[in-house]
Symmetry: C2
C-alpha cells in the first residue's frame, strides 16, 4: 500500500508518500517522497490555490498512491482561519477526487497518538518519531512535510490494526 499524506496549511502545504509491503511478516515503512508547497505571497488567493492544485496533482500523478490521507477538520481555530484553511483543504480534496483516489481523514489527536503514542505530542516529538519509523538519518523538514508523513503513517497503522482485527477481510 502506498499512502499520500497531505498536511494543509494557509502558507505551506506539506506532503509525504509512505509505502508498506503488507505481505511481509513484519511490514516495514518506507518513505518514497516528501515535500512542501510554499505559497507565493505575491500571488492572489485564486492563483495560490491553483498553484497548490497543480503541484499536488503533479505529485499524485508521479507517485500513484492507493489512497490519500488528510488531517480532519480542526475546530478550535477561529472562523477566519478556518475558512482560509478550508479553501486549501477543498483544493487538496479536489486533487484527490480528480485522480479517483479514496480519501481517509484522521483527527490530529489520532495522528499523534498513532505515531508518537501520545495524542498531545509536540511538533518535535512527531518529527523525531516520523524519522525513527521511516529510518531517516535526519529529522524531516519542514515540519509540514513531517506532519504529512505522520498522517500517511497513521493511515497505514490504522489499516494494519483493522486487518489484525479481521475488519475488511
Amino acid at each position: 500500500m502506498r499512502v499520500f499524506g497531505i498536511d494543509c496549511g494557509t502558507e505551506i502545504t506539506g506532503f509525504g508518500v509512505v509505502e508498506t509491503d503488507e505481505s511481509a511478516r513484519l511490514p516495514k515503512l518506507e518513505m518514497k517522497a516528501m515535500g512542501a508547497i510554499r505559497l507565493a505571497k505575491s500571488k492572489n488567493t485564486s492563483q495560490r490555490l491553483e498553484e497548490v492544485f497543480r503541484q499536488l496533482t503533479a505529485e499524485l500523478e508521479r507517485w500513484q498512491p492507493d489512497v490519500v490521507a488528510i488531517e480532519e477538520v480542526f475546530y478550535s481555530v477561529n472562523a477566519k482561519s478556518a475558512l482560509k484553511l478550508g479553501q486549501v483543504r477543498g483544493v487538496a480534496l479536489l486533487a484527490a477526487a480528480c485522480q479517483k483516489l479514496p480519501v481517509a481523514e484522521y483527527a490530529p489527536l489520532k495522528i499523534k497518538s498513532s505515531v508518537v503514542g501520545y495524542g498531545l505530542a509536540k511538533k518535535e516529538q512527531v518529527q523525531y518519531m516520523v524519522a525513527r519509523l521511516l529510518h531517516l538519518e535526519t529529522v524531516p523538514e519542514p515540519a509540514d512535510a513531517a506532519d504529512a508523513l505522520a498522517i500517511a503513517i497513521c493511515h497505514i497503522h490504522t489499516a494494519q490494526t483493522l486487518l489484525a482485527q479481521g475488519v475488511g477481510r
Copy 2:
C-alpha cells in the same frame, strides 16, 4: 462586461451571469444565465467538491465571462461551518484561476447595499431587487442563484462607480 457571480454554500452553490453594455448611455443589466449546483448527500466530500468544480468549470467555459465575482469571507459563522464553506470557496476560486479569470470579492454588506440600497436587507428584498434590476418577470429561485446574481450586479455597480470617478482610466 460579462460578470459571473458565485454564491458558495456547503449544500447549494448558486451562480448567475449578468452582462452590461458599458458603451450605452444608460447601461442596462441583462441576465444571461443563472442556476444552482446542489450537492448530492450520498457522495463524500471530495466527490462533492469535484462536482462543484466540474459544473462551475463547464458554466465558465460556456459563458466566457470577463470576471468572476464572489462573496468575501463571512466571519461570524463558527469555525466548523467556516472550514466547510472554505472548501467549496477554494474550489470555486480554483475554477476561476484555471480559466485565467480575475476574481473580485465583495463583503455581504456591500453586496446588499449595492443591490437593495440597504446593507442589512433580507433575502426576499435581495431577490425582489435582483428581479427588478434585471427585468425578470419572476423572482429568481433558489435564493442562492439570486444571491449570485446580486454579487454580479454589485461588481457592475462598483465598476461603474469607479469609472464615473475616473478610477482606472
